[in-house]
Amino acid sequence: MVSDTSWMRNREGMGLWEHRGKVAVVGWGQSHMDRRWDGVTMDRSCGGLTKEACLKAIADAGLSLDDIDGLITSRETRAEQTWAPRPYFDPPYDTEDGLTYASADWIQRELGLKNVKYLKSDAPYIGPMMGLAAQAVGDGLCQTALVWYPMVNLEGRYGHNNPQNLNQEAPGATAFSLPWGYQNGAMFNNLVVFLQYCKKYGKSHDGLAPLCLNLRRNGLMTDWGYYSLHEPYQLTREDYLNGRVIEEPLVIYDCDRPVNTCAAFIFTTAERARDLRQKPVYVLNHAQNNGRGRSTMATLEEHQEAVASLARKMWEGSGLGASDVDIFNPYDGYLTFTQQFLEGFQWHGVKWGEAHDFYADDTRVEGPHPFLSSGGNNGTGRNRAVLFSDSIQQLRGTAGPRQVTVKADTALAGCNTPDSCGFMMFSKHPS
């Protein structure tokens, strides 16, 4: 589905990013968030929420619709099913476009955008898509890009309506995994790697409990997040340890909860950013991993090498090092792989095998090690964009109750998994 990866910074040895500090994020908008779309309220459909997020982002930047000349989005909304065969609605909700994704053409039409010269609807998921957006602005494909990422959850138990899971046959590459119960997505292989991690370093599943609790705590300080809106209470360690088992030892609280929502961001040139409403948050680099392991299951060693390489690419392109990163928001859905990012980037000096000890220390936003100040996706629902929006808010100084007390000049954020991800380095200063 993703047509072209030539724009990616996915190799070591590419040097300082050529647009370092010349691209900035100047707007952010987050829509309402529900567990599922009710199939009735069009404002809360994928298209409706996307419009809401986009308009909020444009307003946040202090721009007008006519300022937008680039539209970038992804089809990877994780709906896991189509709206069909259920009947479509009156236009503009008369196709999947608007219901299970919202393309650049759909938004251009619905918002009446007149000056768009660059449209991209087949960007990858949000991690690499943010890099694509920064690169597009840096390369001059557009000056001011509206970038949005809907996450879609329709009626029914999540994933159980995915045709692949109902199929009696296993075609193509799935023939080597599905017959043994392997499910697509980040759960299985990352749980395998987590088990290898526990075996190698003598750790166990309960070492993730403090991470889970702190993420929920941070998430409850995020007013638009799923738990603030719909289940506003803190979990206890006992809740976590007694959580419903999905794939033993993985429990429900290790999983970020699928939600129905959309986030949008505005990228523009550093020059254009200078006189806009918000303090610009500059992009110093973006980097991607898109490898895979040698055999059926990628291994701990392969994931560790993947993240170590990602870190080298990030340092090389941004000119920063591990000790320069103030805010760190790596993906946490599932909780089982977050330690690879923490250890691979060596944030706050955490080395291989030390993450669970770090989690057990003080990681509150008020404290000295405000890891995942966003609350992540465990704390706010699986929107993924929170990793980026919190990074931006922390650098702007507008994170409210989540605002860290340590220095917040730089931020590193990204998703999804160690072997397949896109990360971005943000800074308050262009150099």
Partner: protein
């Protein structure tokens, strides 16, 4: 059918790349691609060698069906229909003794869910799927 009660494995559908592999399974043989230039095994089947990048030096090599259990989990809430009727069910990663960089999935027929001896040796067996296609499986050496 599987020897695991309730299990209905989705049946592999061979394609051009994988047909020799699945045909060999039906003869109860496990064959892997071997790049003769690199002496490197590949599994699952790949269009070209992951080391030298060439598709030209592949041969199908039969391997001895001996391995070890690396790690395991227990599937308790699968999204896959044929597994929902069999859960809880083991899900283990098996490394091949001839080349531990090659790994396989296994539900460990004969081993009760959760009672998996970590690190134990396993041997190759085959199980039937709904189309009659055999798939490779592993059981703990008694």
């Amino acid at each position: 059918m599987s020897t695991i009660p309730g299990l209905e494995r989705p049946a592999p559908v061979p394609n051009e790349l994988t047909k020799p592999f699945w045909d060999a399974c039906n003869e109860r043989r496990l064959v892997l691609q071997n790049c003769t230039a690199c002496a490197r095994l590949h599994y699952p089947p790949a269009p070209r060698c992951s080391q030298c990048g060439s598709p030209d030096n592949f041969e199908w090599k039969e391997v001895e069906g001996k391995g070890h259990i690396d790690v395991f989990m227990v599937i308790r809430d699968s999204r896959i229909r044929g597994f929902r009727s069999a859960q809880p069910i083991n899900f283990a990663v098996i490394t091949l003794d001839e080349d531990p960089g090659i790994n396989f999935l296994s539900n460990l027929p004969g081993t009760p869910p959760g009672e998996v001896p970590m690190g134990a040796p396993v041997e190759l067996i085959f199980e039937e799927t709904s189309t009659g296609q055999l798939v490779h499986e592993w059981q703990v050496v008694s």
